[in-house]
């Protein structure tokens, strides 16, 4: 398999930067990626992370997974992008530094567009369009903390849901709304696509090693599920909840210190019940209760740090469709 100048022969690994252009200051616009090509034929799985320059935990573990994999034991091809947004990482920001774009808001990109749009266009054409399955690992950046596998309600929903279940996380969320991400576009093309949300800054101190293990399990489990690797799927818990997401709460009312009831995650919430509150930052008065508009299970997702970003997901609710004894 060859991506740009990076080529892996059967049973070998390759690593390099898939260069798609240069900025006006002549910095390379590129994506670091690994190819692990199995000795035997099989499907192609892409594992990507770091579309945001502040979603860094996957980069702590994905290269290690590549290093530990035996290409000769693999069937098919694994492509791993540990940290896609190199300029955002460089300058510690979510969007790219070159044109201030969020790489997951550009759809399939544009052949004739800004440098980021061109980069995503070439990446989509050269990598994602040739993949059978995509696992994107996202985190809560510096503001939120997550643990679930998400599936879009488009394309090969059954295949995506099966892949999501196989990642081993306790909560699998189906019915993720359409967005402008690469993953959504790939899902529309009928590929098995899962967005695994694992980790985030507010839990980094206490859960870093656990979350790295969750990410490693997710990748290896996906390979096993796709019959690319022998082994047994490792589940986080004995039961797995398949949840249909229906309510997404974002900051819309008062701003200040926002406290979400993260201790309620996983619990069933009644319509009208408080899932958080906002306090005036200078008087301490509670200026808004954040109320669940309908019944549902509180998904392990959303803001935790009390100063939220505009547009940040505060909480997500859904209905449990199936409780599976794994």
């Amino acid at each position: 398999m060859k991506i740009g100048m990076i080529e892996a022969q059967p049973g070998k690994k390759a690593y390099g930067f898939f260069k798609t252009g240069e900025t006006h200051g002549r910095f390379p616009v590129h994506i670091p990626l690994h190819i692990v090509r199995g000795a035997a034929d099989g499907p192609t799985l892409v594992v990507q992370a770091g579309a945001s320059g502040l979603e860094l935990e996957p980069a702590l573990i994905l290269p290690q997974i590549v290093n530990q994999l035996d290409a000769l034991a693999l069937r098919g091809t694994l492509v791993v992008v540990p940290l896609m947004n190199t300029s955002g990482f460089e300058f510690e920001q979510i969007n790219t530094a070159w044109d201030n774009k969020h790489l997951n808001s550009l759809g399939r990109g544009k052949a004739q567009g800004s440098v980021s749009e061109q980069m995503i266009h070439q990446y989509f054409e050269m990598v994602l369009s040739k993949a059978d399955a995509l696992l994107e690992i996202r985190t809560g950046s510096q503001w939120s903390y997550y643990r679930y596998a998400g599936v879009y309600d488009t394309g090969n929903v059954e295949g995506s849901t099966m892949l999501a279940r196989a990642l081993g996380l306790q909560q699998v969320v189906i019915g993720q709304p359409a967005d402008q991400s690469m993953a959504y576009e790939a899902a529309q093309d009928g590929k098995a696509v899962v967005t695994a949300y694992i980790g985030g800054g507010p839990g980094l101190r206490d859960f870093r090693e656990d979350d790295e293990q969750r990410m490693e399990n997710a990748v290896l489990n996906a390979l096993i599920h796709l019959n690319m690797l022998d082994g047994t799927i490792q589940y986080e818990q004995a039961t797995q909840s398949i949840i249909e997401a229906h309510t997404f709460l974002n900051p819309t009312g008062e701003r200040g210190f926002t406290f979400m009831h993260t201790d309620k995650r996983g619990a069933h919430i009644r319509a009208g019940e408080s899932v958080g509150y906002v306090r005036h930052p200078f008087t301490g008065d509670v200026v808004e209760e954040i109320i669940a508009p309908r019944d549902g299970v509180l998904i392990h997702a959303g803001a935790s740090w009390p100063v939220t970003l505009e547009g940040e997901l505060l909480a997500m609710l859904g209905d449990v469709k199936t409780e599976i004894d794994v």
Binding site: P32, P63, P82, G201
Partner: protein
Amino acid sequence: MKVGQLEAKPGEHIFGYLKTPASRSGMRPDIPVHLFAGAKDGPTLLVQGAIHGGEVIGSIAILNFIQNLDPNAMRGNVIAVPVVNRAGFELGERGSRIDGKDISRLFPGKKKGSVSDQVAHIYFEEVVRQAQVMVDFHAGARTAYERYVLFSAEADPDNLTELEKLRRKLVVAFGIDQAAFFPPGTFGNNSAKEAIEEAGVAQITLEFGGGTGWFKNGQDNVRDAERGIWNVMKSMRMIDGEFESDGPMCTVYNAGVVIWKPDVDGLFVRLKHFRDELKAGDVYAKLIDPYTGELLADMPTPKDGIVIPSGQEWPTVGATSIGILGTIDRVEDRRTTDLYVY
């Protein structure tokens, strides 16, 4: 008592904004101030948060504290400022982007200077100078986690000034189990702290909490920070009551071993934990290549020491210290220490 145009009569709590100069766009980072004038005379305590705008655990503790504080049930005055640096708070940043300055380093400020110079001047003259004791909350912002009381190094520990004696008691009275001072030269001079001391104000700084521990420990730190403010009030005899603490002992570290980021850069992975005892050369943390996982650099400690509860945890670090180690200077026993400053 009066702060700027704000005035509280005995038994009153009033809230308002201390006026500051406008930036070029007309933005005024006026400082939110709560005044509690006790029904009876007594000393003045200043509690402040978020002078570094992203460090908000103390701010939340102060908000909880003021909602429970009854001016009629206390002696003296409390000035509570949940957020000193509003511009930094707005953007989640340490300094003020209005002029790129760190207000905490500008005291006593300048009457004629940049916006932050003037803010520091107004705040110093109107607020800081009125206090006998200043509790200054800092934290690890979104990228680190900390839990200790920081105070200035003493010039001659065998011959303490009255202010230093008083401050020693406050450090222990606050109620957490670890405290530290940086010996001279560790981080360079801090003339702002000297200005506060010259004004006769006993300052303790709380390095308390931070974003990377928020999900699990955030509310516990807020609770303990508020507990510390009440303890300081007891120490100042502004209220009556028993001291509450982590436990009877408070370990005070001479924190003179700083581990700095090496010249190379990558993803930072901290390997050691608070209270780990390290020998010179032991690896405290490492930097790895973000794309290949290759080891770029080990970060060893240059000297023996114990990891004090401070330091970076987020995987990117700036040109800053990423860990602080210390030796035990003394262990204070709250059961046998006089915790009252007046």
